[in-house]
């Protein structure tokens, strides 16, 4: 799940705060991620995560403290790129039965 984060910044103070304090530590902790800073005019600051399954997740971080931004960044990093759907089962298995599923024909 290697992902690339891109920040589009239009709010100056917030950008400076986050980029100075949080981003370098985030970069060091995650050497497998490619973190890119882009200045995009006319857009609110956001975090973009690109996932291995060609999925994009965008999080708007307008007016957020650096700690909150870091939290969202770590969430993006922790997650896989799968679509956020309500869980049908908590347990995904390929071997549902070990000793054989019971049918009416099974005799002990």
């Amino acid at each position: 799940m290697i992902m690339i984060s891109a920040n589009g910044c239009s709010m100056i103070d917030q950008r400076m705060a986050f980029m100075e304090s949080e981003l370098p530590t985030f970069k060091e902790k995650n050497p497998q991620l490619e973190v890119v800073n882009e200045l995009i005019h006319g857009q609110h600051p956001h975090l973009k995560g690109f996932y291995k399954n060609k999925n994009e997740r965008v999080v708007c971080v307008k007016n957020m403290t650096p700690e909150d931004i870091l939290l969202y960044a770590t969430r993006l990093r922790n997650a896989l790129g799968r679509k956020v759907v309500k869980l049908t089962t908590r347990h995904v298995t390929k071997h549902p039965s070990v000793q054989g599923t019971w049918t009416t024909d099974v005799k002990f």
Binding site: M1, R75, R77, N78, A79, L80, V84, V85, K86, L87, R90, H91, V92, T93, K94, H95, V98, Q99, G100, V106, K107, F108
Partner: protein, 236 residues
């Protein structure tokens, strides 16, 4: 009266055990000595084994939750301990592990975060958010209730001491949003709240504590082996 009851229950359990599937009578079932509750009064030594058998069947059939309060306490302790330790190669997550069943791939049921699961090797489990582990961390789950394989079943009382389940943390993610909407009609009361549960996805890699029988499925090697003797027989 009591003697008659004992004999009756003995006979019942004996028939049940004899009719058990794929299990040699005594040797396969390793009944461990730890007794779960003092509430279970066992008059005879023979009865102890048989009465336990009925309890074990109860375990294996239902995935009931055991001793939630204990589990929660242990979870907290584990989390405090884990915060201090380094998250290097493997972490000892002392989460509650329920039934385990082993297959050609190993199958386990374990309890984690006060839920019990029956899993096998290579399964994915969604549990409550585990605070002390990062992504790609290895967890060893100690509390295993039951181990099983195609020929053997090991039942714990209530847990198996030497069994372990290895799991890898795949992701920490948020569940889909659930909107909690409250309304009381004609009373001008309406509330909307959104909730996203934090989940952890674990992938089971290994189960230890039972002999594994790797039954390779009938693929090409078997067919080739079968063909060769046929050819040889035909040639001869």
């Amino acid at each position: 009266m009591a003697h008659r009851r004992c004999l009756l229950s003995l006979a019942r359990h004996a028939t049940a055990i004899i009719s058990q599937k794929k299990m040699p009578p005594l040797s396969a079932v390793e009944v461990l000595t730890r007794k779960p509750n003092p509430a279970i009064t066992i008059p005879n030594s023979e009865l102890s084994w048989f009465s336990f058998w009925s309890h074990s069947r109860h375990f294996s059939s239902s995935k009931s939750e055991d001793s939630e309060t204990e589990v929660e306490v242990e979870m907290e302790e584990a989390s405090d301990v884990e915060a201090e330790n380094d998250n290097a190669a493997s972490d000892l997550g002392r989460d509650y592990s329920p039934e385990e069943k082993e297959a050609e791939a190993v199958a386990i049921g374990y309890k984690i975060g006060s839920h019990q699961f029956k899993v096998s090797n290579g399964d994915s489990i969604f549990t409550e958010r585990l605070k002390f582990c990062e992504v790609n961390d290895k967890l060893i789950l100690n509390k295993v209730l039951l181990l099983g394989s195609p020929t053997q079943t090991i039942i714990g009382r209530p847990i198996l001491p030497d069994a372990a389940v290895h799991a890898v943390v795949e992701e920490h993610a948020l569940d889909a949003k659930v909107i909690i909407f409250k309304k009381k009609r004609r009373k001008n009361y309406r509330r909307t709240k959104g909730h996203r549960q934090e989940l952890t996805k674990l992938r089971i890699t290994d189960i230890q504590g039972i002999e594994k029988q790797e039954i390779k499925t009938d693929g090409k090697p078997l067919k080739a082996a079968v063909k060769n003797p046929e050819k040889i027989a035909a040639a001869v």
